[in-house]
Amino acid sequence: MAPRSKTRADVPEEAGDDATMQDAPPSHQPAADDAEDAEGGEAGDDEMNEAEDYEEEEEEPQRVKLLAGSTATAASFEFADEGHTLGNALRYIIMKNPDVEFCAYAIPHPSEAKMNIRIQTYEGTTAIDALQKGLQDLQELCDVVAEKFWVSRNEFMGESTPQPSHA
């Protein structure tokens, strides 16, 4: 392929095909003698740093997409890595919105982890607003369900244990 060879010319002659040692990126690994200590130690400094790096939450990739052909009041959205669990629940709650003319969800192909949701609203609001309201309403609903469930559980057990706090 022709274009490749052009970039080759920019590389200094002496470097040849191999990168020189100076060009090599500085190592992220601890120096060899440090590494041995760190491995043996309970939680050496290097190991702790590594652990901290690990714990840093990755930025979540954009999983919601507006599909082509959408207008303000009639739009289709694609949710990556979502399925019937969220699809049907979200469809229900969006259909409960009186400003929504139509709402449906589909999983176009079972071997693609994608869920599409179609929203058409009446004039005066937008499909995106309806989607956002749906997600907010679902959160509200979850709070009510969790609260009532735990109250009822405590009554049944004759306890007053607070809701477990984790997660």
């Binding site: 714990e55 979540e60 999983r63 997600l135 679902l138 609903l141 469930f149």
Partner: protein, 375 residues
């Protein structure tokens, strides 16, 4: 816009019934949407939902819970059920390092069996301390992402030997003839790393829920020597990570005796149902006074519905001519009888709560994403 009218209580109740007829089912889908009934407001309102929603517990043990969610749509009840099965994380054996396995069971089969064993451990350690394990970048060291807060190490070292105290001429039970003829889940040894010794100390140690799960059988001279790494995972990745043995719901059955079923028919009617669902009682003076249909039948036996929850929704009673037009079977569309059976890492009531929180978190994350999308 038309003024909003409120339908009568009886009308609302009848809308919730799914009809179960001899050959068909009717009114299967929910109709509580704005615009479905002219002049009625069915739009989403948290207060309306909150006043109509109700939870009733039937049973609540550590590993088995049963309760009813009343006043919720199937789409939501199903979301909770699906989350219970596939989205709540548990800890399970993910990698097996086999040093020696001279048993008859193949390495890969043994590894699979080990993976399916449910484990328990200290709650705080499992839920707060342990984090997700991440696959190392390609080319990186295979343990570069393995730490005490995301990996639990286990070992299994057993060797089968002859039991010199047992007489092979008298004894035929291999479990008595040999030491370690059976390898059980309780033979797995937890080896705490780093901070794990604080979180999984004493009775909080990582251990199999059921110590008597048989893993393999050995004969003298055979041995299994291996170590294992456990990670957190979810049921959608592999069923071994699912926190529930079963999580299911069924709709509340309804049996409506429209016209009196009396005398011998009453006994026959009761026999059409599971025990305890329909009882036979005597018609009292009050019955006759309350309902014209019972007039003149005081002292006769009548069929009454005692406990529809125990009904299996068999349609047997619809097959008999004598009950024609006297009974109406159905199910309540918004009454879900949940049954959750935990595998042991979580308590079953906590599991449901966790599923609700998981759905909320999912929505919260996606709401952010929708805002990002607009930007």
């Amino acid at each position: 816009m038309r003024p909003t009218t409120a339908p009568s209580e009886a009308e609302l109740d009848s809308r919730k019934i799914v009809g179960i007829n001899k050959e068909t089912v009717t009114d299967v889908t929910s109709t509580d949407f704005p615009g479905h009934y002219p002049g009625e407001d069915n739009s989403w309102d948290i207060n309306t939902f909150s006043s109509g929603f109700n939870v009733q517990f039937h049973q609540n043990e550590q590993f088995e819970a049963s309760f009813s969610l009343i006043g919720i749509d199937a789409s939501l009840a199903n979301a909770f059920r699906r989350i219970l099965i596939s989205e709540i994380p548990t800890l399970a054996i993910e990698t097996v390092f086999i040093e020696n396995n001279t048993s008859v069971i193949q390495d890969e089969v043994l590894a699979h069996r080990l993976g399916l064993i449910p484990f328990k451990g200290g709650k705080e350690g499992l839920l707060d301390f342990l984090k997700w394990w991440r696959k190392p970048e390609p080319g990186a060291d295979q343990y570069s992402t393995t730490f005490d807060f995301n990996t639990v190490s286990l070992e299994l070292n057993v060797e089968c030997t002859k039991n010199p105290a047992a007489d092979p001429d008298v004894e035929s039970d291999p479990a008595k003839l040999y030491h370690h003829a059976n390898v059980y889940a309780k033979d797995i040894v937890f080896t705490p790393e780093g901070r794990q010794s604080q979180y999984f100390d004493g009775d909080k140690a990582i251990a199999p829920v059921n110590p008597d799960i048989l893993i393999a059988k050995l004969r003298p001279g055979q041995e299994i020597r291996l170590s294992m790494h456990m990670h957190k995972g979810v049921g959608s990745d592999h069923a071994k990570f699912s926190p529930v043995a079963t999580a299911s719901y069924r709709l509340m059955p309804t049996i409506d005796i429209v016209k009196p079923i009396l005398g011998a028919d009453a006994d026959k009617f009761a026999r059409c149902f599971a025990p305890g669902v329909v009882a036979v009682e005597t018609v009292t003076r009050e019955d006759a006074a309350r309902d014209d249909a019972y007039e003149g039948h005081v002292g006769e036996r009548k069929a009454v519905v005692k406990d529809p929850m125990r009904d299996t929704v068999s349609r047997e009673c619809l097959r008999h001519k004598e009950f024609d037009g006297k009974v109406k079977l159905g199910r309540r569309r918004d009454h879900f009888i949940f049954a959750i059976e935990s595998t042991g890492q979580w308590d079953s009531d906590e599991l449901f709560l966790e599923s609700v929180k998981t759905l909320k978190l999912k929505c919260k994350r996606l709401e952010k994403q929708v805002v990002n999308m607009v930007r």
